[in-house]
């Protein structure tokens, strides 16, 4: 009995954390590296879901292949958008907000015009896992695995590849990085494309769990923003993990006792409390701690 409750709580926690991570990761790396808030992030997720629905229902592809189509498709879309529009606004953060907001409107209205108010559903893969007296959705557990895997891949890219280390250098001091011959524009282009591809993946993974409509992005983006704000842009990896974990610990039990709506309210309150005390989010706090320690060590 006690074990069942614990297993259930863990399952809720994993389900919640996967959702927060997958919703937020793309937004977070774009904010962390380029310092641009992509207000069209939710619509990128929606595009991913549409691409999956189309390739599943029309193209008759298996779901994993649909996810690849969504990732590549939305990633390429992000690549083109950065080249043509977003890079014009790197010196103008307010302009970037307006531009990405405009893109979000065009995307949701455009999809509405082309495909109408809703899309053929993607069936939910029923993999039931029974542990003792409780049973869990295997698909949702897999989502948790994918979310953690995505973080691991990002970490590997940022810490163990040349372009990743260059990206971290550009985050710390873009002007100096440029003076060493590091191609900042290219880093921003690839980052925007990677963030977009992550949004596409999220849309693909959650397509079987929701009704696919032009405004579905909003259901992801509010949670994504809370996660990003609580995590902070100083270090996307640390930020995403700590923020998603802490927020899930708070909202998972609330949601399972009192429903999704109360869970969301809990998220919001938790976010407000964290921001009150850590204005730069968890990763900003970690960075400041580290800087203070380095400052002490660096005294002549």
């Amino acid at each position: 009995m006690g074990l069942d409750v614990l297993a259930n709580l863990l399952y809720q926690f994993a389900d919640n954390m996967a959702f927060l991570l997958l919703a937020a990761l793309g937004l977070m790396i774009i904010l962390g590296v380029i310092d641009v808030i992509n207000l069209a992030h939710g619509e990128f997720i929606m595009l991913g879901a549409y691409l999956t629905a189309l390739s599943y229902n029309w193209g008759h592809l298996p779901l994993p292949a649909c996810a690849v189509v969504s990732m590549v498709g939305v990633g390429l879309f992000g690549l083109v958008l950065e080249r043509t529009l977003i890079r014009r606004f790197y010196q103008d953060k307010l302009g970037a907000l307006v531009a990405t907001w405009g893109v979000s409107l065009i995307l949701s209205q455009g999809i509405l015009i082309v495909f109408g108010p809703s899309m053929a559903a993607v069936p939910f893969p029923q993999w039931t896992l029974t542990v003792g007296a409780s049973s869990f959705d295997g698909y949702r557990l897999m989502l948790f695995g994918v979310a953690v895997g995505a973080v691991a891949v990002l970490w590997w890219l940022l810490y163990h590849t040349r372009i990743g280390v260059q990206t971290r250098a550009a985050m710390q001091n873009a002007e100096m990085a440029a003076c060493l011959g590091i191609r900042i524009r290219r880093i921003y282009l690839l980052t925007f494309a990677a963030g977009s591809a992550l949004a596409g993946l999220t849309g693909a993974l959650y397509a079987p769990t929701t009704t696919i409509v032009p405004l579905m992005g909003t259901g992801f983006v509010d949670v994504a923003f809370i996660t990003v704000v609580v995590g902070g842009g100083a270090n996307p990896i640390v930020g995403a993990l700590t923020s998603a974990a802490v927020l899930s610990v708070i909202s998972a039990p609330l949601a399972s006792i009192s429903g999704t709506f109360i869970g969301r309210i809990g998220l919001l309150v938790a976010a407000l409390v964290v921001i009150r005390f850590l204005p730069q989010g968890f990763s900003g706090y970690v960075r400041d701690l580290q800087r203070r320690r380095m400052g002490a060590a660096a005294a002549p």
Binding site: R162, V165, Q166, R168, A169, Q172, N173, E175, M176, A177, A178, C179, L180, G181, I182, R183, I184, R287, Q290, R291, R293, M294, G295, A297, A298, A299, P300
Partner: protein, 236 residues
């Protein structure tokens, strides 16, 4: 334009509100160590930034290895072989020492290979502490790291802005030795902004004195070793 490593002619640049550099002309030949001296705030660092391309020229021209670079970005100038060691060092504090050095690899895209061996030989402390975060370094070690970072990329011209500021005399000595050695052994061309008269006298083959954004004197080797002469250009 001449055939030197660096040719600056009539260069003006500034920060939005007003022009700081008022038509600077200088040239540096291959293998030279040239000192740029002048009081605080006369525009020495501004000149370095304009040569690097961080600040756009409002008029005048910069040529590197005989090619005009006035309209190139800092990235392109670095890729052609200009290594920059800025005032304040600007190391990446949250990268390891090794990762910092790696960031210099993109300098001089025509080089045959990276120069970790030389950098580690000149500054053994960088090898010993290569896994340490650069932000934990003392000022002197950070200065070595900033110089090492530029040297890894095998630059054809090294711009060094006040390497002695805020650093223990023993480390200033060590840095001076390294710059001297690398110039003698590898023929590296160096533009050195300095106010430390001992370092100037030790390193520079010749120099320029700057005041209010202009070059006000060309100094020969004998003038650079004359303390009274230097003090005249450096005193407030």
């Amino acid at each position: 334009m001449g055939r030197g490593v660096l040719d600056v002619s009539n260069l003006s640049a500034g920060y939005g509100s007003g022009s700081i550099l008022q038509g600077v002309t200088l040239e540096i030949g291959a293998g030279e160590i040239v000192a740029m001296i002048g009081r605080n705030g006369v525009g020495k660092s501004t000149l370095m930034k304009a040569i690097m391309g961080v600040l756009p020229a409002t008029s005048g021209e910069v040529a590197f290895m005989g090619q005009p670079i006035t309209h190139l970005s800092p990235e392109q100038r670095a890729a052609m072989g200009i290594g920059y060691v800025p005032q304040g060092r600007e190391i990446f504090p949250e990268l390891t020492v090794e990762e910092n050095l790696m960031m210099g690899e993109t300098i001089n895209r025509d080089k045959r290979g990276t120069r970790y061996d030389i950098v580690y030989a000149y500054f053994p402390v960088l090898r010993e502490r290569r896994r340490q975060l650069a932000g934990t370094f003392s000022g002197g070690q950070q200065q070595m790291l900033a110089i090492g970072r530029a040297l890894v990329g095998a630059p054809r011209l090294l711009l060094v802005d006040e390497p002695s500021v805020g650093i223990q005399p023993t480390i200033v000595l060590e840095i001076g030795e390294v710059l001297e050695k690398i110039n003698a052994e590898e023929g590296l061309t160096i533009l050195l902004v300095e106010q430390n008269t001992r370092l100037i006298a030790r390193l520079a083959h010749r120099g320029y004195a700057m005041d209010k954004g202009r070059i006000v004197a060309r100094l020969g080797r004998d003038q650079l070793t004359n303390q009274d002469m230097l003090v005249q250009y450096l005193a407030v």
